[in-house]
Symmetry: C2
Amino acid sequence: MAEYNQLTPELIAELENIVGGDNCLTGEDINEDYSHDEMPIYGTHMPDAVVLPANTDEVSAIMKLASANNIPVTVRGAGTGLVGGSTPLAGGIALCTMRMDKILEYDENNLFVRVQPGVRLCDLAADAIDHGFMYPPDPGEKTGSIGGNVSTNAGGMRAVKYGTTRDYVLAMTVVLPSGEVLRLGREVAKTSSGYSLLHLMVGSEGTLGIITELSMKLIPNPKEDMSFILSFSDIQTAIAAVPKIKLAGLNPQSIEFMERDIVDSSAEYTGNKIIPTVVDGNECGAYILVTLDGNDEDEIFQRAETLAEIGEEAGAFDTLVIEHPADKAAVWAARSAFLTVIEAETEHLDEMDVVVPVDKIAEFLGFIHDTGVENDVLIRSFGHAGDGNLHIYCCGNNIEREAFLEKSTRVMHAAYAKCNELGGQVSGEHGIGHAKKEYLRESVGDTAFSLLSSIKQAFDPKGILNPGKVCN
Amino acid sequence: MAEYNQLTPELIAELENIVGGDNCLTGEDINEDYSHDEMPIYGTHMPDAVVLPANTDEVSAIMKLASANNIPVTVRGAGTGLVGGSTPLAGGIALCTMRMDKILEYDENNLFVRVQPGVRLCDLAADAIDHGFMYPPDPGEKTGSIGGNVSTNAGGMRAVKYGTTRDYVLAMTVVLPSGEVLRLGREVAKTSSGYSLLHLMVGSEGTLGIITELSMKLIPNPKEDMSFILSFSDIQTAIAAVPKIKLAGLNPQSIEFMERDIVDSSAEYTGNKIIPTVVDGNECGAYILVTLDGNDEDEIFQRAETLAEIGEEAGAFDTLVIEHPADKAAVWAARSAFLTVIEAETEHLDEMDVVVPVDKIAEFLGFIHDTGVENDVLIRSFGHAGDGNLHIYCCGNNIEREAFLEKSTRVMHAAYAKCNELGGQVSGEHGIGHAKKEYLRESVGDTAFSLLSSIKQAFDPKGILNPGKVCN
């Protein structure tokens, strides 16, 4: 990291002047939460000031001040990240976007919504439905901010059919580290107009600029959807069914996989036993959870029949239709509780969210479980079978933090190497932050990594924006 | 442009050594076609040598030689571009990818095809269908290379439903200007693993690196599709129906618009009069051509009924179902012939392919036709109503080239300014090349333009790759 200046009382007064005294916190007024995201195990660092700007102009003024005085700035949304991306490693200013939380405009003719970055995903999703639209990206963490979702290219459950957050960003307003304001992209569906700075910003984790407004694509809300639980003896058999479902043109909205242990934990934790554990006398070892959507109920039923046939051929004990809205809510609540359940049962947690080709999921899961056993680390996992994005947790109880990290890091090294060998990616949707930087370098190689650093240099020559992250 | 060295006989001998004597052309062996793309009006420049490498290693060896000796290299695919992107402005080496024309592998489990960049779109599309897949991007120019399609983020007719070429690029092999070989992306559907160099390469028009292999996403081929012609009194009424069709959740594969004059010309040129000109005694002034696809015929018929209802409410004279495969082929042949028809009738041609918001299409078309009249330039137009991508042609006959260009440039300046005012983009799918550079700068502004140049500098510090294009 570069050398920075300290925030002086004069600079703090200027910050207060920009955002108002109530929206500039210093000293003991700063909540400890601002020192980390949801993975404090990767290290905590307090900022010297927290500012909560209300609009693009205020963000621009903050960055002009920071740039002129060489003060580091780390952007933060809802703080739900999992790779330390919003941890202010160099101190300085934590710039929180959560006061910019307005849904500004629905454009029905051109099918997009204009929002500020601090709108939470759950609020945007619900509001879009009220307007007759679907905002398709559906990451598990619903309270994350939409700015954070764009900054990590969050994916979620529905990526199989609808793609990731990247596919829904039409345009954005960005404040550069210099304080200059750029409008990237336009509210149109096609473009071939120079290198895509818009796509460069997506997934850049607050290191290239600060997103202050977003135009996100919407689709008409599908009228019907139906979920199905296919139960199998083991994970290998379950995963082997996935390419068949995709090849059959069933166009599922989501295909999630679940192993029995996490289903049991979730049932115990939530009291919700909606997912069957024994089917026709067979002990279930693994499941896939499929959702089909569309506008025509009959046509969905037809796809459901094909799904059941494919399931049977692939060795499923059963294809359970989740018909009642209450049951559907219960199933997805069980699925959404997985991370909470793991967190509740675990003292020390390390995690990875690699992506591997769909037909390599079972091999990777076998490898990671074996590697856990070899290193005496409990592994829990679940994830997106339809796109190969796996959430893998190293869990430690009754062990010192350092001793745990030594073990979990061994597991991580082996697992990321295996992921590379299988043609996978370091992260599907959580990003790199500072926790996964070295794994990114190993994965992409020195030449590509140095291109990333050159791009960072072009946007942020002083290196003041989110230092220590991704490639800097 | 930078200062370059000339190709010496020694360097040509080295090139021959790399690609074989038959695949290195110099002097009078170089066909004049290599001096331009499909728009010679933007200027022609002969290369000093044309090389046709067979694989990544040969491309890498060529670039190492060019880099060490400061020789400019311009990449060329099928030469079907429309903005002078493959014109070797600085002479030097024209590197043609068309010998790298193999479809290498279909991966059915992970739904992608691995190809060399010189495969033509029509060949990939047909071969994919033979394998049970659809390669969704469908630009009008079917003989373009897939490498060129990626380099311009080509869009085409089906972008309304399926997106543009960008959305189908999973991974690529790239040779950097230095000759280093990078593998970007992976054959997986999700990633949040550092700034997306893959998305930076898409649409970079051969200025950042040379694509030597591509992994393109496929989808299962929809079993059914049906096309419909909706006829209207005028273009305003026709275009006003488009947002209604999209909002209704009909999920059309394509929505094209056609004005009467071009339909008449096409009918005359092709002898194919499939598109009606009078319906129930009403003279048709404009049309939209809609295609619906899916796996269930009944469900498509249901959507077709809704389409007809929407059409009627929006003032369509009729919604003509194109049932016979022969009729469907005839309608799409008529549509595909538009550019050919214009070229056949025109001595001097200048063109733009702006994108505007869908509900601004009619306003823009009105403006451009008025501007044509004011400047005494005949305007022809057609395009993609579903995504606002308009193909606009300035046509000149019985006039000197320079006099025509003076007039058409006035029209272009006014039209690009209007496009900016309406929130549009300079190019939907043709790119920037050297013909549209100044319009790009005006559209994105100096700050963004200089970021583009910095990125170019990071990839190509010597400026040897495709000089004079996009932002350099």
